[in-house]
């Protein structure tokens, strides 16, 4: 029986990183011979083959059956994939595949798309490394792979000023964040003399409080930057709105969640004794993040910035689920948080992809200028409407189901705090309607200037991922149990670790 870490290295990481090299080299050769566009298409096809193959391979995960199996390779000890990692893989791969298909249509006029797909594969590999890492150094290395590739993808369209400026802001704030995090980790190394999470946890249980709390604060702050917790979120609206729409979908859908996942992994692995306190901090941060994100989103005039701020708010829901889980030791909180990661990934990606399509056709990002676009591009506008209603948590869409779990876990905790938290979450859902409804209303109001500019049909490569994501959002809204299988396995894993 293959051990989990050998499986992770050989069937997930190796195909992605090797695939990135192959994509880049072959794409480059073809674009030299046949021109840029052909090279981009070839690169996209290779990237698609690689991701689909890795996605199919990840269903052969040996799982609990192989718990005792040893790989016999010492250096693979720094990987420690479990059900949590598998859940993130099952969310990420479909997203990357759909975005790659979308980019075939969306990026066809850009130059250098061979590099675009290679960077996208590296980003996917970095994410899989972060979720599978078992010690602090591998976590940091893969986190930096993820960060560097996303810096370059955000400023991919370097011909205009906005991606470049947002890109520099993204680089400097995120580099600060991850370096502060590794600084906290290096303090842990000084105190414990080990890089494996289990050994660090064993060592620091005997330490005085202050060094441990300092390291915890540095780590929370550092990864909090990547997870866009509110005082540290200022890079997110710029980067997510300046990036090409496919990349915005990936960034909002999965990358910030992976940033939070790194923090989660460290809390579970290194700070089991501080769990109650971490829960308190996460709850406060989550309440502030959600409320702030929603209120600022109302004021936005640019539709992509509005969606970016809504990502901040939705991140708050996810953090709230985990905070409640840690604070009350409730499995429902973890289920809600993880399921919201899953549903939000597809809803937010759907919103960004459909908006990207609308922006490409009309050439404007101002909400007020988008009047009547829904009448000339009905399919895309309906897709956006479904995504927005799902994000607002309207029943019958997948977002409602995951938010419902988060509301429920607060009420079930039975204390005043839980009830207050659930009420804040519900109120925020209503507030968020305050910016989704006007946007939808504008799209479907009588025709304006922008609608007149739309000509030609949307290419099938753009439409296909949008249709698939609409289906996922609707199906998960009616049958949440279809998506809950891997989530429940992951929650069992967490409960195993915290012993609740």
């Amino acid at each position: 029986m293959q051990s989990p870490e050998l499986f992770w290295a050989m069937r997930i990481l190796l195909p992605l990183f090797l695939g990135a090299v192959v994509t880049y080299v072959i794409g480059k050769i073809i674009s030299r011979i046949k021109g840029d566009r052909a090279g981009g298409v070839v690169a996209a096809v290779i990237a698609l083959v690689v991701t689909v193959a890795a996605y199919i391979l990840c269903f052969t995960y040996p799982g609990a059956a192989s718990a005792g199996a040893e790989s016999g390779i010492a250096w693979l000890g720094s990987l420690k994939p479990d059900a949590l990692s598998l859940l993130m893989a099952k969310i990420m791969f479909p997203l990357v595949i759909l975005v790659a298909i979308y980019s075939l249509g969306y990026m066809k006029d850009d130059s250098g798309t061979d590099k675009y797909y290679a960077l996208m594969l590296i980003m996917a590999g970095g994410m899989m490394g972060v979720v599978g890492a078992g010690d602090i150094i591998s976590l940091y290395v893969f986190f930096e792979i993820l960060s560097i590739s996303s810096y370059c993808l955000v400023s991919f369209r370097k011909e205009s000023w906005e991606p470049i400026e947002a890109g520099f802001k993204y680089v400097i704030i995120n580099a600060l964040g991850s370096t502060v995090a590794i600084f906290g980790l290096s303090l842990l190394y000084i105190y414990s003399g080990s890089v494996s999470m289990a050994e660090i946890a064993a060592h620091i249980s005997g330490l005085p409080d202050l060094p441990v709390l300092a390291a915890l604060a540095l780590i929370t702050g550092g990864f909090g930057v990547k997870a866009a917790m509110v005082p540290l979120h200022s890079w997110l609206p710029d980067a997510h709105s300046a990036a090409p729409s496919g990349i915005s979908a990936l960034l909002s859908g999965i990358v910030i969640q992976v940033g939070f996942f790194a923090l989660l992994r460290l809390i579970l692995g290194v700070f089991p004794l501080q769990m109650q306190m971490v829960g308190t901090i996460l709850i406060i941060l989550a309440a502030v993040t959600t409320t702030y994100g929603n209120f600022i989103a109302i004021a936005q005039k640019d539709i992509k910035r509005m969606l970016a701020y809504s990502s901040v708010a939705q991140m708050g829901y996810i953090i709230l689920g985990f905070g409640v889980g840690f604070y009350f030791h409730s499995a429902d909180g973890f289920t809600g948080g993880l399921f919201h990661i899953e549903t939000h990934a597809f809803m937010k990606a759907l919103a960004f992809l459909s908006v990207g399509c609308i922006i490409e056709k009309t050439g404007t990002r101002r909400i007020a200028d988008l009047k009547g676009v829904g009448r000339v591009m009905p399919a895309t506008a309906v897709a956006f409407t479904i995504a927005a209603l799902g994000l607002a948590g309207i029943p019958a869409f997948s977002g409602f189901m995951s938010k419902l779990m988060i509301y429920k876990c607060g009420f079930q905790a039975g204390t005043a705090l839980g009830v207050v938290l659930s009420s804040i979450a519900i109120l925020n859902s209503i507030i968020s309607l305050g910016y989704y409804m006007p946007a939808i209303h504008t799209l479907f109001s009588p025709a304006g200037e922008a609608a007149a500019k739309v000509k030609g049909t949307v290419s099938p490569a753009i439409l296909l991922p949008i249709v698939i994501m609409v289906l996922i959002t609707l199906v998960l809204g009616w049958h949440p149990d279809l998506g809950l299988g891997p989530v429940n396995a992951a929650v069992l894993e967490i409960l195993n670790i915290i012993g609740g």
Partner: protein
């Protein structure tokens, strides 16, 4: 390794250099200087790893971690510098208060 060093002062120096790096990133408006602050911060991190390796009698592990951090630092600095060159091509300026068009 028997060094007559007061490790408290070592730790103090590490924290001070890290603090100076963060201070540099947060307060300076020149983009080059912000990147230099980042470099200073990673110096503190490498120093912390080497110190830890010496303290626990694992010079191999401590050096390995330091080397990993140094290489990543160089890669991030290179990407950051090429962004600065691109910004200069768009704006003709390298100070953040001269280029700030994005809000929030």
């Amino acid at each position: 390794m028997n060094l007559a060093v007061n490790w408290v002062w070592m730790l103090t120096a590490i924290v001070v250099i890290a603090g100076l790096g963060i201070f540099c990133i947060v307060t300076r408006r020149n983009m080059f200087r912000m990147l230099m602050g980042f470099t200073m911060l990673t110096k503190a991190v490498t120093l912390a790893f080497v110190t830890g390796g010496t303290l626990w009698g694992q010079p191999g592990l401590g050096q390995t971690l330091a080397i990993i951090v140094i290489v990543i630092e160089a890669a991030v600095t290179a990407v950051g510098l090429s962004m600065i060159v691109n910004i200069y091509r768009h704006y003709g300026a390298v100070n953040t208060n001269q280029i700030k068009r994005l809000r929030g």
